[in-house]
Symmetry: C2
Subunit: 343 residues, 2 copies
DNA sequence: TTGTACGCGTTATCAT
DNA sequence: ATGATAACGCGTACAA
């Protein structure tokens, strides 16, 4: 079942392999008639060039890769669409590469860069805590998009696009406080986690402090590690525990919309209502936060703009127009029906 | 910035390339000490083998690919996890390849098969209407999982795993009828669409007929083509139109949970309630159908089992234990709070 | 146990 | 306009 190669085609056409290659790749130096003749034979024999061989030989290729940690996260959906459209518009091709939770995204990137002769890379999601040494192994430009960064990084070493998680987080907790809430529970990432969860937790602390609300450790609930992080199920389980603990509170801040939905479900099951008994807020602005009942008050991230800017920066990097860039987008506090003002 | 190759490593170590290759690939014929020495040099110089070269040279490789049409569909999430686990367990590696809505999945598969020397392929989602001739270009085993098939296919030409969409669809509409509903609207795929939408529509028609309910064309609503198919937004927009049309009905059957949620939202916005004013049912059994308020009555597909069986069949195919297989799983009618009995 | 040399399928270089 | 041939980086007979 040996696969048919370019040589076979060349023989069948009675031409050299070079000519066949020219036909395939739309090279100029070939007559129209031999080209159509060759293409015909190719079609008839279902010849498909071997990509490994092409990539091996090619020195450059107009392709970029987007590495996603947590590809099942609906948050990325609208971004993927933008990446697709924008790369196409620039006549680039686009590889979407899933990165496993346990995998090291940089290692994957390094490998992929060599394999596919990438022109640029976008990292999406996850947390970033890699040594500069490791980053330096990437020889092509890259952009970190919607990624929580460890602070000790030198801003000159990379590019990034995201919202200011601390600030936006502050914003929504501040809103809750202004609505009269003082006992606000939070569902966030475990404390040893260097992630957006941590940043959003920081915003929570700041807002409480600003409003002179005493911090209550028992209102801080961390996602369970044995369940998908940031998932509805996680929010559900954690909230059930919170409810059963008997600790008093009037509002829950879940650091993602999915968690918030899980929280609502737990509240409903306990016979209570949202927002009459408890206010619930989320973060991200997923579609479902609008469709849920009640619709969820949240911080909406401008995902399309973020993706757009990510691509723009990446191509500016590729075209050497810049050496690095950092862009922060504001989130939008979307007030909906999952929160109510306390008397 | 020329990348470092296996030759460079060989030179630096003062050995031949073969030895380096052996060290990398854990070959037996190499002394422990030279191996560790070589690995050390590799680490120090951040050498990463070029995958294109490897794939080109290798005649076989223990890897399978899963091609997903509509990777943003949360329905696939739990399946992906199973694929990952099961392939790992069998010491295979696993490539998740997104297929664009407009792309031809078979073409992608053919290319990928050559490029990566695949051992097998799983097709996930979408509709399947490819000629046998095209299918024959695939030289490795493949399984169609949760895919709506055109009926004219010879069952001997392929393998498949899924639920019986017509039957399950019948089941849920039958349930609605038994609850006293007779004016049941349906939100489904456009009629020219050869997909699960069509199959589920068939089940709807059968159930109505069985219950002696006259078919009302105006209660058949098709998804809009300018919006993501099977999305919440689509269900939302279509239901708004339905509501505004003034056509009377007591229940909506949306052929996917996402559509159902959009339908609920539209109902809420019109000032009506679910299930008091309208019953709503979905299909698939997504997590969100449980977490939504009200929780959605739906047909739950056994996604884990489907994925499990898909992999099992694929490996049986690879091991030549079988030549083809078809497995149909029953769906589960999950009755929740979005439906009520009519007096 | 180790090294040399060839070939995987393609594209680029350089003739013709 | 076309063709022969040398890489691309790696794995593997085969020889040592």
């Amino acid at each position: 079942m040996a696969s048919i190669t370019i040589k076979d085609i060349a023989k069948m056409c009675g031409v050299g392999v070079t000519t066949v290659s020219r036909a395939i790749n739309n090279h100029p130096d070939i007559s129209e008639e031999t080209k159509t003749m060759i293409m015909k034979v190719i079609k008839e024999n279902h010849y498909v060039p071997n990509n490994s061989a092409r990539n091996l030989k090619r020195s450059v290729s107009k392709t970029i890769a987007v590495l996603i940690k947590g590809i099942t996260n609906p948050f990325f959906n609208p971004m993927i669409q933008v990446f697709e459209r924008e790369t196409q518009r620039r006549k680039y091709s686009f590889i979407l590469q899933r990165v496993d939770e346990k995998q090291d995204e940089i290692e994957v990137a390094i490998e992929l860069e060599k394999e596919k002769r990438l022109k640029g890379i976008v990292f999406l999601g996850g947390y970033f805590s890699h040594s500069k040494e490791k980053l330096d192994q990437l020889t092509v430009p890259f952009v970190l998009s919607t990624i929580g960064m460890a602070e000790e990084f030198d801003l000159n070493d990379y590019s990034s696009v995201s919202v200011d998680d601390v600030k936006e987080s502050y914003k929504i907790v501040d809103y809750l406080c202004n609505e009269g809430h003082r006992k606000i529970a939070i569902i966030t990432a475990p404390m040893d986690d260097v992630s957006i969860g941590k940043l959003r937790y920081e915003g929570y602390r700041k807002a409480l402090k600003h409003h002179g609300i005493e911090f209550n450790e028992r209102l801080v609930r961390c996602m369970r590690e044995d369940i998908d992080s940031y998932s509805m199920e996680n929010g559900y389980e954690v909230t059930k525990e919170l409810l059963q603990s008997g600790e008093e509170f009037t509002a829950i801040y879940a650091v993602s919309d999915s968690l918030a939905i899980g929280a609502c479900k737990a509240i409903f099951e306990s016979g209570r209502r949202v927002p009459e008994d408890y206010s619930v807020v989320g973060f991200d602005g997923l579609d479902i936060s609008f469709y849920y009942n009640p619709s969820i008050t949240t911080i909406k991230q401008p995902t399309e703009e973020i993706a757009q800017e990510t691509i723009k920066i990446l191509f500016d990097l590729i075209d050497k127009k810049i050496t690095h860039a950092h862009k922060t987008f504001p989130g939008e506090l979307v007030i909906r029906n999952s929160t109510k003002r306390l008397n």
